[in-house]
């Protein structure tokens, strides 16, 4: 472990909800600041703590992920760490050169060329002319903009602008790096490149990273702080726990019947239990998910199939089943039909999932939707008791010298 580069002690910051009052308080604070008032800063009317009592320490080589819903105080904390605003209480100590990737392309002027803007952006970020002279070719190559570097930036696509900004921002070799949602820039190719660049930089510095992309958090961070209403509700090195807390703070997407012009779904039984959309069905790792439901077709249809889609809390589709992929279609009938789907060896990791049902008419090679019941059942996976960050925990066997390893007894 390297030396401590960031030390944050009981930092608090308050904001006002009312603009007029906020401006007035600003004026009062300016005068109080100038005359060195030592009065303790209490909350005034319409004020709230945007950040309250946050403390942590970060060493070289560590990366702290800051997560929380919008307005939890993450950006305010970053602004304090970056020295843009001063805390109302507490103290921040930062050692070494700080680089903040918060705004890419700061200081750009659209009329000027890419090359001129490298100098503008670089100087805003604290580089000297000599330093920029040395780095300019590296920047142009990294941004892959050599062909257009002498064209005005206003003719760039938004992706090109971001690439240029990113290239300038990351050519600095910082001790402390503050990252705010900037990794998802450019097209897929550049995203990989920028991700690798960041991974390379963070090895040698202390990083504070804000993002809503949990997979990225999982890959980069060694510590987590989960913030809610200005407080750090969790701080520690259990990255998965923090991510769980983050997801629990949301209600999830609501269940709804998106479309039922062609068919109705009734009486959904999951593992022999009648469910409505608010119940969570618990399922063990490697368990079987049995879905039974009644379908009432509203018109004459000869063949149809069902598709089951399972999404995680990130709204990522983690699994999809089509009943007609390996089996025949269901035969249509305007009477109520009962259908059953059995999904074996469910390998999802622990957590909450939602199930969406699609009833689809099959017309030769084409198809037409009859009904979509979005997030109509809720599934809770348990039993793996491990918090890896992947959608599925694969089932498999391991051998040593052609002999299978014996099972672990727990």
């Amino acid at each position: 472990m390297g030396e401590v580069l960031i030390k944050v002690e009981n930092v608090s910051k308050k904001f006002s909800k009312d603009l007029k009052k906020s401006l007035y308080y600003g004026l009062v604070d300016v005068f109080a600041g100038i005359f060195g008032s030592t009065k303790k800063r209490e909350l005034r009317g319409d004020e709230f703590w945007a950040v309250k009592d946050v403390s942590f320490e970060l060493r070289r080589g560590e990366c702290l992920g800051l997560i929380g819903h919008n307005g939890a105080g993450k950006s305010t904390l970053l602004k304090i760490l970056n020295g843009l605003i001063s805390p109302d209480e507490g103290r921040v100590e930062i050692h070494g050169r700080v680089a903040a990737l918060i705004e890419l392309g700061a200081g750009f002027n659209p009329i000027l060329t890419g090359r001129e803007n490298i100098y503008n952006n670089g100087s805003v970020l604290g580089l000297t002319r000599k330093e920029i002279d040395k780095l300019v070719d590296e920047i142009i190559d990294f941004a892959e903009l050599r062909e257009f570097i002498d064209a005005p930036v206003q003719n760039y696509s938004s992706g090109m602008k971001v690439r240029l900004g990113f290239a300038v921002a990351t050519c600095i070799k910082p001790d402390v790096l503050i990252l705010d949602e900037v990794l998802a820039v450019g097209d897929a190719g550049f995203r990989i490149k920028s991700f690798n660049k960041i991974s390379e930089i963070i090895k040698g510095c202390a990083v504070i990273f804000v993002s809503h992309s949990m997979p990225t958090m999982m890959r980069i961070c060694s510590k987590m702080a989960f913030m809610s209403h200005g407080r750090a509700l969790y701080y520690g090195d259990n990255v998965n726990h923090a991510i769980e807390l983050y997801y629990q703070a949301f209600e999830g997407e609501n269940s709804k019947i998106e479309f039922n012009d062609g068919a109705d779904i009734e009486n959904i039984y999951i593992n022999n239990k009648l469910t409505n959309c608010d119940d969570f069905i618990e399922l063990n790792y490697l368990g079987t998910l049995t879905i039974e439901l009644d379908i009432l077709l509203k018109k004459e249809i000869s063949k149809f199939f069902i598709s089951v889609q399972i999404t995680d809390k990130d709204l990522k589709i983690v699994g999809q089943y089509f009943s007609n992929k390996f089996y025949q279609n269901f035969t249509g009938s305007t009477n109520k039909t009962k259908i059953k789907v059995e999904l074996n060896d469910i390998q999802f990791i622990d957590g909450d999932y939602a199930i969406t049902y699609f009833i689809t008419e099959s017309i030769g090679k084409n198809y037409a939707f009859l009904a979509t019941y979005r997030n109509y059942s809720k599934l809770r996976m348990v039993g793996l008791n491990d918090t890896i960050y992947a959608s599925i925990f694969m089932k498999g066997k391991s051998f040593q010298n052609n002999e299978i390893l014996s099972l672990k007894d727990e």
Partner: protein
């Protein structure tokens, strides 16, 4: 390794703040130069008439007064130098004075987006405004020089006072501008009120007409600290003797004190107003 500490600004020592601020000017000089280059080249790349716009308001204002005076619409007292030159010098100086007061507010407002996102020495914005002001000032004075050559104005030894007078006036006005910046950023009223106030104040200063021998306007002009500056800068340019040279020392002291107060206020106020800025 460099260490930064951020905490609530409850108490501070003035000498430390002054030191930090002066260092801020030094460290951020390249940044200011680069941003000035950016602003100036962007401005002229998008314009056909270019530098003409820097002097257009002065010429227009002067033409109005030359016309009013020439046609006898209003009767103005005889000036010691040709009236067009008198008006052009007056309005040029007045435009520069107004620019000086608004320099910091304009500069901070134009760069809000980087202030709220990036940590840099905010003194750069004052230097930036100053470089742009100097650039405009040179263009404006080319007009004055052309007119002086046209009217064969003799240059006398008074010209050596031109630079000190200009510097002291600009220092004082820029400092006043910095002092009102914190309020001016929070409330837009300031940047709206200053041009209007300066417009009115212009008529209480010998800008487009000379100080009358008697009456209310004379008293007003005598009380107005700008009169002394305008009269003497004009005299230094046109070869007339400087009036009450010793008073300049008083102006210089006041300017320097104002400047140091203003840089302390600016340094302390910037983080507080940053959180109230939207970008």
């Amino acid at each position: 390794m460099e260490t930064r500490v951020y905490q609530s600004t409850k108490n501070y020592s003035i000498s430390a703040v002054v030191k930090e601020s002066l260092q801020g000017y030094k460290q951020s000089f390249y940044l200011a130069k680069q941003l000035a280059k950016r602003d100036i080249s962007a401005q002229y790349r998008q314009s056909i008439l270019g530098v003409f716009w820097a002097i257009a308001p002065i010429i227009m204002n002067a033409i109005v007064w030359i016309f009013l005076n020439g046609t006898g619409t209003i009767k103005l007292a005889q000036t010691s130098i040709p009236y067009p030159l008198y008006v052009i010098i007056g309005t040029t100086l007045w435009a520069i004075f107004t620019d000086c007061i608004l320099l910091t507010i304009t500069s901070v407002n134009a760069n809000k987006s980087i202030i709220t996102k990036i940590n840099f020495q905010k003194e750069a914005l004052i230097t930036l405004g100053f470089i742009k002001l100097l650039f405009n000032l040179l263009i404006k004075f080319i007009l004055v020089i052309v007119l002086m050559l046209y009217y064969h104005i003799p240059i006398s030894s008074s010209i050596i006072y031109f630079i000190p007078f200009m510097l002291i006036s600009m220092l004082a006005l820029i400092s006043i501008g910095i002092l009102i910046t914190p309020i001016g950023i929070l409330y837009q009223d300031i940047s709206k009120a200053v041009p209007i106030a300066m417009q009115i104040l212009m008529y209480a200063t010998p800008v487009v007409y000379v100080m009358p021998k008697t009456g209310f306007i004379k008293t007003l002009m005598e009380l107005n600290p700008f009169s002394y500056l305008i009269i003497n800068i004009r005299n230094s340019l046109t070869g007339y003797p400087i009036e009450n040279l010793h008073v300049l020392i008083f102006y210089a002291i006041v300017s320097i004190v104002l400047f140091f107060v203003s840089i302390v206020v600016y340094r302390i106020a910037i983080p507080i107003i940053t959180e109230r800025m939207s970008a």
